[in-house]
């Protein structure tokens, strides 16, 4: 009797099962040939850092990402990178990959302050220090360090300057704020700073439009268009991030209201970040002020936290980027400290 041939389906199923079982039982060990992970770094030595960004949508994030890369290169550290495109689950996968690669530290720009918490906990379980870059987490006992700007104070300083200009006009100014994604604590801080400064202004300023942009330029454009349609005499606009200035410019240009600060009909404009676009618009005279967060300093601090953690030094829970407001009044004096000015000048 001829032996029955092995059925293809049985063979493949068995083969697949073998491979999966072999992997799950750890037959492929990290130091086996073809699985070339780096040997663990000695105590105090940082060899690899995993950097997980939520997005590289704006100049700010690109500048921060590039600075982290440059800092790692300067210190001889290998940087593993991941960009989640706004997907928290994808970011979690990237962080878990870093953990699997046994990196010496992880720097995360979280999608939001809540979804990052399980990621921090996963890194804590693997004893890998975690730094949140520019966006802190919500209240949690998971161990990490947040390097972030004081959004409230910087925005308040910026908008207070705009209010002082508004008062000089002698008339009550109608104001508009473009808010960010309110699941982002940065957006909440900037909104609150704006509201605080406007409240202190008393009757000089009246907020007639609060545009929820979700950090989206198209939503910003549509929101500004609608607000200007409803309130054509808006005299003060604050954007929670400079990357939305092009949307504002587009609308105001179409309405014939895109004027420099020394031209009649100028609308007071303020922003936050201090990017190259804002610098150029300030240098050209269209934007009155912007809050600057020191993206380069924050990157340096983030890496230093990991170096300190590896050396056994305690890591702080929070490192504040004090930032400052740059205005038409102090532009020449302060532009050297504005990262956007550096980027803009490097481009020329």
């Amino acid at each position: 009797m001829r032996p029955r041939p092995l059925r293809t389906r049985t063979f493949l199923t068995a083969m697949t099962a073998v491979i999966v079982m072999a992997a799950l039982t750890g037959c492929g060990k990290p130091d086996a040939p073809g699985a070339a992970t780096q040997p663990p770094a000695a105590v105090g030595q940082v060899k690899t850092i995993g950097v997980a960004f939520e997005t590289l949508q704006t100049e700010f994030w690109v500048a921060g990402f590039d600075k982290l890369k440059a800092e790692c290169a300067a210190k001889g550290i290998t940087m593993l990178e991941g960009v989640a495109d706004g997907d928290a689950s994808k970011q979690f996968d990237q962080v878990k990959n870093f953990i699997n690669r046994k990196v010496d530290g992880i720097i995360i720009v979280p999608k939001d302050g809540k979804t990052v918490i399980p990621m921090i906990k996963a890194a804590n379980a693997a004893n890998i220090p975690v730094v949140l870059y520019n966006r802190p987490a919500d209240a949690t006992d998971a161990r990490h360090t947040a390097v972030a700007p004081d959004n409230f104070a910087i925005t308040r300083e910026t908008v207070t300057y705009l209010v002082s200009l508004a008062k000089k006009t002698g008339r009550k100014q109608k104001a508009m704020i473009l808010m960010g994604d309110l699941s982002d604590v940065n957006a909440i801080g900037r909104r609150d700073g704006f509201e605080a400064a406007v409240k202190e202004a008393g009757d000089a300023v009246e907020v007639v439009a609060r545009i929820p942009t979700d950090w989206n330029q198209e939503k910003a454009l549509a929101g500004v268009q609608s607000a200007m349609q409803a309130n054509p005499d808006i005299g003060l606009i604050f954007t929670s991030s400079d990357f939305m200035f092009p949307s504002i410019k587009s609308v105001l240009s179409n309405l014939g209201k895109w004027k420099k600060h020394n031209e009649p009909g100028h609308i007071l404009l303020g922003g936050f970040d201090g990017d190259a676009t804002a610098y150029q618009l300030m240098a050209d005279g269209y934007v009155d002020a912007t809050g600057v967060q020191d993206v380069y300093w924050e990157a340096e601090q983030a890496i230093q936290v990991i170096l300190d953690a590896k050396a056994g030094r305690p890591a702080p829970v929070r490192i504040d980027d004090k930032g400052f407001a740059i205005t038409q009044a102090n532009l020449k004096e302060m532009e050297s400290r504005m990262w956007g000015a550096v980027v803009a000048k490097n481009k020329k």
Binding site: T8, R9, L12, M15, T16, I19, V20, A23, L24, T25, G26, G28, K29, P30, A32, P33, G34, A35, A36, T37, Q38, L80, E81, G82, V83, A84, D85, G86, D87, A88, S89, K90, F92, D93, Q94, K96, N97, I99, N100, R101, K111, D112, G113, K114, T115, I117, P118, D138, D181, L182, S183
Partner: protein, 320 residues
């Protein structure tokens, strides 16, 4: 050659080739930790793609699955969230929340199916508009009730679905097995294929085409809600933003596996292979430290080639 290309294990062969290609050169690829990561990462996609497969078999498409994930996630979190949840702190919070999430998926699927089957609207248009509507509804609901987009403090029993890999795996395997049995062993499964092959002939033969179509979308909605359960538990947060970037991967995985976009052809097992292949590619390229944009480009090319290959494969096998 035609036997290999026409084989229903073709994509599994590709998985083995991908594994063999990555293993020697990719640091950390062949390790228990990485396989666990790969497995937990692909489970929501597997459940979603399985639901999508049933719709594709009928010749339709469901673009609203990501909106269903967001809405279900918010509904579930609003029920069981610790601080402001309607049943927060109650032992019934989790079962009611899970039931609510599944019901949400089923209701959205029912709406989609009804518009497509009874109002005779194109599936693409219906599910595209319901994506917009239900995505917006999810955000509105969260902001209206808790004045935030993300809802936290979910019950530990629910979070265990995300924290314990075996629980997530059990749920995904169960869902996939049920779908396989439904397609392969039940009258409804045969009807789904019949409607996909030729709806007119099916109608004449006595198949309740409208009911079957509605059923497919209801099932797709339920499976999307199950994916929402996995994602919400994993990220410990109810959010309308969960799964937003998954749509291309969902359809891509089903198409790579061999499910036809024209209807009448597809299997759950093929979709499993498709999900595995796409996940292997993503995982391997990620570990090679390629930029995320390059990975997206490569995945897009892979899905396009898979779709072209499917068309060519079908013609080649028929010709042979």
């Amino acid at each position: 050659m035609s036997r290999i290309i026409g084989s229903e294990f073709f994509v599994l062969f590709l998985c083995l080739i991908a594994f063999a290609a990555f293993a020697p050169f990719t640091p950390g690829f062949v390790s228990t930790g990485n396989f666990e990561n790969l497995l937990t990462a692909c489970l929501p996609l597997l459940v979603l793609a399985t639901g999508q497969t049933m719709v594709l078999i009928t010749g339709g498409i469901d673009l609203s699955v990501t909106a269903i994930i967001g809405l279900s996630s918010v509904v579930g979190a609003l029920v069981m969230g610790g601080e402001q949840g309607w049943l927060g702190g109650s032992p019934m919070a989790m079962p009611v929340a899970v039931a609510g999430m599944l019901a949400t998926g089923a209701l959205v699927g029912l709406f989609n199916g009804a518009c497509i089957a009874w109002l005779r609207m194109p599936a693409f248009m219906v599910t595209l508009t319901t994506t917009m509507f239900f995505s917006g509804l999810a955000v509105w609901l969260a902001k209206k009730v808790v004045n935030a987009e993300s809802i936290y403090h979910l019950p530990p029993a629910f979070l265990a679905l995300g924290a314990q890999a075996w629980m997530a795996l059990a749920l995904a395997v169960f869902a996939t097995f049920v779908a396989h049995v439904l397609l392969a062993r039940t009258l409804l499964g045969r009807w789904l294929y019949a409607v996909g092959h030729n709806p007119r002939a099916s109608l004449i033969s006595g198949v309740p085409v409208a009911g079957v179509t509605v059923g497919a979308y209801v099932l797709s909605g339920i499976f999307a809600a199950m994916a929402a359960i996995l994602l919400t538990a994993r990220l410990e947060t109810g959010s309308p933003n969960h799964g937003k970037a998954l749509l291309l991967d969902v359809i891509g995985a089903a198409v790579i596996g061999g499910t036809s976009l024209f209807g009448g052809k597809g299997k759950v097992l093929w979709t499993v292979y498709g999900v595995l292949f796409l996940s292997l590619i993503s995982n391997g390229l990620n570990l090679l430290n390629l930029s995320d944009f390059l990975i997206t480009i490569i995945k897009g090319v892979v899905i396009l080639v898979a779709a072209l290959l499917d068309v060519w494969r079908t013609r080649f096998v028929r010709g042979s």
